[in-house]
């Protein structure tokens, strides 16, 4: 049995090593695949905070992924058209700068998460699952009909956005940016999970009434977790859009919400590195099985089914069973 901390480091180091190996072998496509793993892992790491620690089964996290994507798409669209974004009296210039886009993606996702969270947390159980799913559909249909930004066809961005001092068009440099963000977010999640807030949130998932009885509000704890979670998934959405230089309503689709959940479960719910492991397995399956058979989703379904029925701790749970009560 491997100590969780070593496993976490091994997975991240492994991703970096693979990317460098692909760089040495001049395989930019492999680097792009690895970047996809990192970004999807980041999106699922966001969901993991709400789902894994807070127990919030959100079937609408694609909302934030899509918002991040459209934050990037819209800002870059206005920059490449040299037409400012007019919001009533406000006139916002477009931008091709990644850091600015990230901040916008985080801010918009967090703001929407506050609203969705406030409304959804009035319910619980199946109702919570369904209302988050419904919010996802709302945004999906809204994006489809929003013809200014491409409607159903989506928006293409000609050139990847820039980051000061780096060449983001170089796959390995963009990979490096994404991996650095992932590491930072995982560090933050790890601290968060063990912080006083994490302790209370963890208890709010298991026994909300106990948390109330010690004078804390489970709803407020969960709301904040939902907002942090949404902001991270939003940031991942902005990066994903930049990876593809394309954003479309499918980023809001409920299948995407389902897939984000699948990533978390494949890896292991509530485990720090779980989402990244889940994303790696998902992308590997998509790539390997996708090459063998057109119908690779069947096998993804079978694997997922087996994990849910027989290996409830996910892959990380198999390798490194959860320990309890240490710092």
């Amino acid at each position: 049995m491997i100590r969780e901390r070593y496993l976490n480091l091994a997975v991240l180091a492994g991703l970096l090593a693979l990317a460098l190996w692909a760089l040495a072998g001049d395989q930019p496509f492999t680097i792009t695949l690895l970047t996809k793993v990192v970004i999807l892992g980041l999106a699922a790491a966001g969901l993991n905070i709400a789902l894994g620690i807070g127990g919030l089964v959100s079937l609408g996290h694609a909302v934030f992924f899509g918002l991040g994507g459209y934050a990037m798409g819209i800002l870059a669209f206005h920059a490449q058209n040299f037409a400012p974004l007019e919001l009533g009296p406000l006139s916002i210039a477009g931008t091709k700068s990644m850091p600015v886009i990230w901040l916008a993606a985080i801010a918009v996702s967090a703001a929407v998460a506050v609203v969705i969270g406030l409304l959804s947390l009035r319910t619980s159980g199946v109702y919570f699952i369904m209302i988050t799913l419904a919010f996802g559909q709302m945004f999906y249909y809204f994006a489809i009909s929003w013809s200014v930004y491409g409607g159903e066809d989506g928006l293409s961005i000609y050139v990847r956005n820039g980051f000061p001092g780096l060449n983001t068009l170089d796959p390995i440099q963009f990979f490096g940016i994404c991996l650095a963000i992932l590491c930072l977010v995982l560090l933050l999640s790890d601290r968060l999970a063990r912080s006083p807030f994490g302790l209370a949130l963890n208890a709010a998932r298991q026994v909300p009434v106990r948390v109330e009885t010690v004078g804390l509000s489970p709803t407020r704890l969960k709301l904040l977790a939902f907002v942090i979670s949404g902001a991270i998934t939003g940031l991942a959405g902005a990066l994903y859009a930049d990876l593809n230089r394309f954003v479309s309503p499918t980023m809001f689709s409920w299948q995407l919400s389902g897939e984000l959940m699948v990533l978390v479960i494949l890896g292991g719910v509530g485990r720090l590195i779980g989402p990244v492991v889940g994303a790696a397995i998902f992308v590997a399956l998509e790539h390997l099985l996708g090459g063998l058979t057109e119908f690779w989703h069947i096998w993804l379904g079978v694997i997922l089914l087996l994990i849910v029925l027989f290996a409830r701790g996910g892959v990380v749970g198999l390798i490194s069973p959860r320990r309890v009560g240490h710092d």
Binding site: R191, L192, R194, S195, P196, F197, G198, L199, A200, N202, A203, Q206, V207, V209, R210, V211, E212, T213, V214, G215, L216, S217, L221, L224, V324, G325, H326, D327
Partner: protein, 249 residues
């Protein structure tokens, strides 16, 4: 007479045609153990829920330290000084014993919005949690997973979490339930000392414990308090004998 720490006035609560609380007025005075007894279905749980804030009464009020808290929720009442233990343990089973006690300490500190420093390394929280575990005799089991505790140990942990809150009044819902004779005797001795720290409203089926501990007893039957008095008064009351003790005698 001293001001009661906790008081209910004419609490009434109906579920359809059933009057679960019918004008209940009881109080809890400093330093006392006030036991609530009554047959099953007498409305003890409903009363506890209304006192702790989980259930709004149809009419009547709840006062804590002289303040009307009828409109406050569970969390607000806990912050004002209500320390409750549950009949069926409500603990975070996946977490360690220490973490459960830390949660209480965190609630007492009122500062859960801290995101960086690990909770277990916060000396104040930790000292408060360990002290409570020590007092109930769980210090040696601190790092165990709560799910692995025995039934009796879980009851002890329930009390420990309430202790971390340093409450002005304890509300204990059948703390002896499921404990063996030895466990009951231990807990009885512990509660006996605890009343000096804060008074205890004790709902309990274990009559030996009640008669050993209670300064006063209220008898609840069909949502009404039919008698309140000292142990001797209650033992002597004909009405109580008929309505309640008589069934068991």
């Amino acid at each position: 007479m001293t001001e009661p720490v906790l008081a209910t006035r004419d609490l009434t609560k109906s579920f359809g045609a059933l009057k679960a609380s019918d004008g209940i007025s009881i109080d809890l005075r400093p330093g006392e153990i006030h036991a609530i007894i009554g047959p099953n279905g007498a409305g003890k749980s409903t009363l506890i829920h209304q006192i702790c804030g989980g259930l709004r009464p149809d009419s009547g009020t709840v006062h804590l330290l002289g303040r009307d808290v009828t409109a406050e929720g569970i969390a607000a009442r806990a912050r004002l000084g209500l320390g409750r233990t549950f009949q069926i343990s409500a603990l975070a089973m996946e977490d360690s014993v220490l973490q459960n006690a830390m949660l209480g300490a965190l609630g007492h500190s009122g500062r859960p919005w801290r995101f960086w420093r690990p909770a277990l390394r916060d000396p104040d929280l930790r000292a408060r949690a360990e002290d409570s575990l020590h007092r109930v005799g769980l210090a040696d089991h601190m790092h165990k997973r709560t799910a692995n505790l025995s039934h009796g140990q879980r009851r002890q942990l329930e009390v420990a979490v309430a202790l971390t809150l340093d409450p002005k009044a304890f509300i204990m819902d059948e703390p002896m339930a499921g404990l063996g004779a030895e466990g009951s005797a231990l807990l009885t001795r512990f509660l006996d000392e605890l009343r000096a720290q804060a008074p205890i409203l004790l709902v309990e089926h274990d009559m030996d414990a009640v008669f050993a501990l209670a300064d006063r007893i209220s008898v609840l039957v069909y949502g009404r308090v039919i008698a309140t008095g000292t142990v001797d008064e209650i033992r002597a009351s004909a009405e109580v004998r008929e309505a309640y003790l008589g069934e068991e005698a």
